[in-house]
Symmetry: D2
Subunit: 135 residues, 4 copies
Amino acid sequence: MRHRFRCAMRWGDMDAYGHVNNVVYLSYLEEARVDMLFHLGAAQGAKALTEGVLVARHEIDYKRPLVYHPRGVDIDLWVGAIKGASFEIRYEVHDGDVLFARAASLLVPYDLAAGRPRRVSPEERAFLERYVEAG
Amino acid sequence: MRHRFRCAMRWGDMDAYGHVNNVVYLSYLEEARVDMLFHLGAAQGAKALTEGVLVARHEIDYKRPLVYHPRGVDIDLWVGAIKGASFEIRYEVHDGDVLFARAASLLVPYDLAAGRPRRVSPEERAFLERYVEAG
Amino acid sequence: MRHRFRCAMRWGDMDAYGHVNNVVYLSYLEEARVDMLFHLGAAQGAKALTEGVLVARHEIDYKRPLVYHPRGVDIDLWVGAIKGASFEIRYEVHDGDVLFARAASLLVPYDLAAGRPRRVSPEERAFLERYVEAG
Amino acid sequence: MRHRFRCAMRWGDMDAYGHVNNVVYLSYLEEARVDMLFHLGAAQGAKALTEGVLVARHEIDYKRPLVYHPRGVDIDLWVGAIKGASFEIRYEVHDGDVLFARAASLLVPYDLAAGRPRRVSPEERAFLERYVEAG
């Protein structure tokens, strides 16, 4: 199952080339992750994810230039592999049929109090498994 | 040969966790690329690179959290593969012996006037080849 | 008449103190201005404003700290004085009854082709006058 | 006495108009304040300022457009009025003789542990008084 997040764009996301800067796409992914992991996760019993998740890796392929428009862009996101102490989120940034980027992030649950990574809990696993998709 | 760029950090680069936000690392890479491709490239006969280079892909592995400090961080960058119409830049973000991230970008020379990708020119190839390194 | 713009917040708008950084408020004002001057203005016959408006001055009073939440914040904006070659936009950043900031900007229509400021046109004046309010 | 801070610019500070975005100037002021209040202040006996200062107000006048260049810009900053529970910092953003902006901020020492504003301490006052200038 994919989660869809409508991400507001800002005029200021554009750089001197008049396109949304490649760096800003990662902010869009961050907002989509926060929406899924923090809000949806907390509502579905995986509240601990709101208390700390480290980004261990990103990869992103830019498919075509994106120009600011007031209606924003959609981020579809779903879960790839879930391992013992990490999981993968995959994304598509698109507007209807037009694909702007594909991306993936490797995420690590983090125990803020102890200051170290921790394992994926059973509640988190149950939450994440609803969003597992191939591809 | 590697090019080293001393990247100024900003206090505002930190997020609510008190670390440099993972998105901001890509700004650091951008500044390092601009320094190498625009300034160094223009000085070494590859001026056309300043007129347009698209980012086709990034990948980045975060190795440890980075906290703002006024002395900035070093970005070492070098060239991976050079193909007909693209080339790869590889990076290490570090402060002395401490490695914060490794990254790579696939870049495509772009003809702004014609509005389309173009091939790597001989002058650009000569410039880039000085910085080719394995690894 | 006031124009209300619902501004999406981003988790990344917060700084290391866990509040929306004071700098980011100005991005919110920018998005609200773009919504009013570009989209609404173009729809109401003042299209030239989309082609260039310089910010000559900002002033902003912060009333209380703002923490990210997914529903965003409201920006109310209206027009203060309209002069021959400039006009003032005034703002309130709030969420229901809770006021986070009051601000004002002095704006100058700009002729991008000629590279210089220009006078407020009659169409622009007619558009702006609908939004004039005291206070 | 004025404090001068050399502020690194980033290519990404430019917006779609090809100028440093008006919002980003406030980031430059923030970096200059951090340099003066945190680093210089801590070295000169006013360490508590590093633990929390709220921005209560900014005003900024933009004098001419600023384009990214690798050498950065200078921020000169000095102290205006010092009151019981607030003080004013004034700034000029310039590059040699060329003035880009003048600005002022009203700052309030903040007790993070107690979660409320506090008075300027004698050590802070002694530090700030060295930088008081008219104008």
